[in-house]
């Protein structure tokens, strides 16, 4: 396990996001993982911050609304099969960790675990959340919401960032 600078590895993280990364959240005694293709990273509120987006129709939504933390694990080896499965299965119906043969490992600084895969791991403590207001959206975004299941944006302080082999 090697500590990395959260902002230095952004190019690699963003390239992998185009294939997918894993968002893991634990709350209310349950843990779920979902595939994400979107994230913003940078400096906000004098802190290093990662922002993720979760649709209110997702099983993860119910967890992250209650959670104080989330983690993002960005694979550095091929995980296309698991990313596809975790992007289509719902944690309401199945145990995604079992179905995708994915294990978690205890995070260093937050209660949500990280995935036990080779990759970059971001541990984030929630600072702010904001449900998307469709009235403020450019029309170009409407086609992403035919079912009006808008995202909520979660802003987390990156309290630990490291790479595992």
């Amino acid at each position: 396990m090697k500590t990395v600078h959260a902002l230095e590895v952004v190019p690699a993280v963003m390239q992998q996001l185009q294939v997918g990364a894993f968002l893991t959240v634990a709350a209310k005694g349950r843990t779920n993982v979902m595939t994400i293709g979107w994230a913003l990273v940078g400096i906000l509120w004098q802190k290093t911050v990662m922002m993720v987006a979760v649709r209110n129709s997702r099983h993860t939504f119910g967890l992250i609304e209650e959670a104080e933390s989330f983690t993002v694990s960005v694979p550095t080896k091929d995980r296309k099969k698991e990313l596809d499965l975790c992007g289509t299965l719902s944690g309401r119906a199945v145990d995604k960790f079992k179905e995708c043969k994915l294990a978690t490992r205890k995070a260093q600084k937050v209660s949500s675990p990280v995935l036990d895969i080779p990759g970059y791991h971001y541990e984030c403590r929630r600072l702010y959340k904001s449900a998307l207001d469709p009235k403020m959206m450019d029309k170009a975004l409407e086609e992403l919401y035919p079912k009006k299941d808008y995202h909520t944006l979660y802003f987390g302080e990156i309290v630990a960032c490291y790479q595992t082999d």
Copy 2:
């Protein structure tokens, strides 16, 4: 002028943000520039996105609320003096371009200009905005808002990104 990949240069951009970058906005026939130290960058809504934050007490706030675009110019040579001035003067009281001896140049794809300085230039078309809701903020952020002049977050699609010498 050299086209660069908006996400590839994020480490350099984030390092410079710790000193400062310039946010330029044109609207209602006026143009203003302010110093920013915060920004998020990444992928959102299937687009390459930059997010900036402007306090509602700022002169720029009145402009960016009306604008369809904003630009961020990230200096690659020392601009500490101009960054300090543009961070303390108000566009309400003075012409910051004149006071700071800064010139603008026409942007490639948006109506707000970029600064005519050596640096990375991000041209952003506004996709979404969201006024911070203090009720959703972690207590750790309260000290940033003793006057309750909260930021509004502006999310723009990066429609052009390039480096000038």
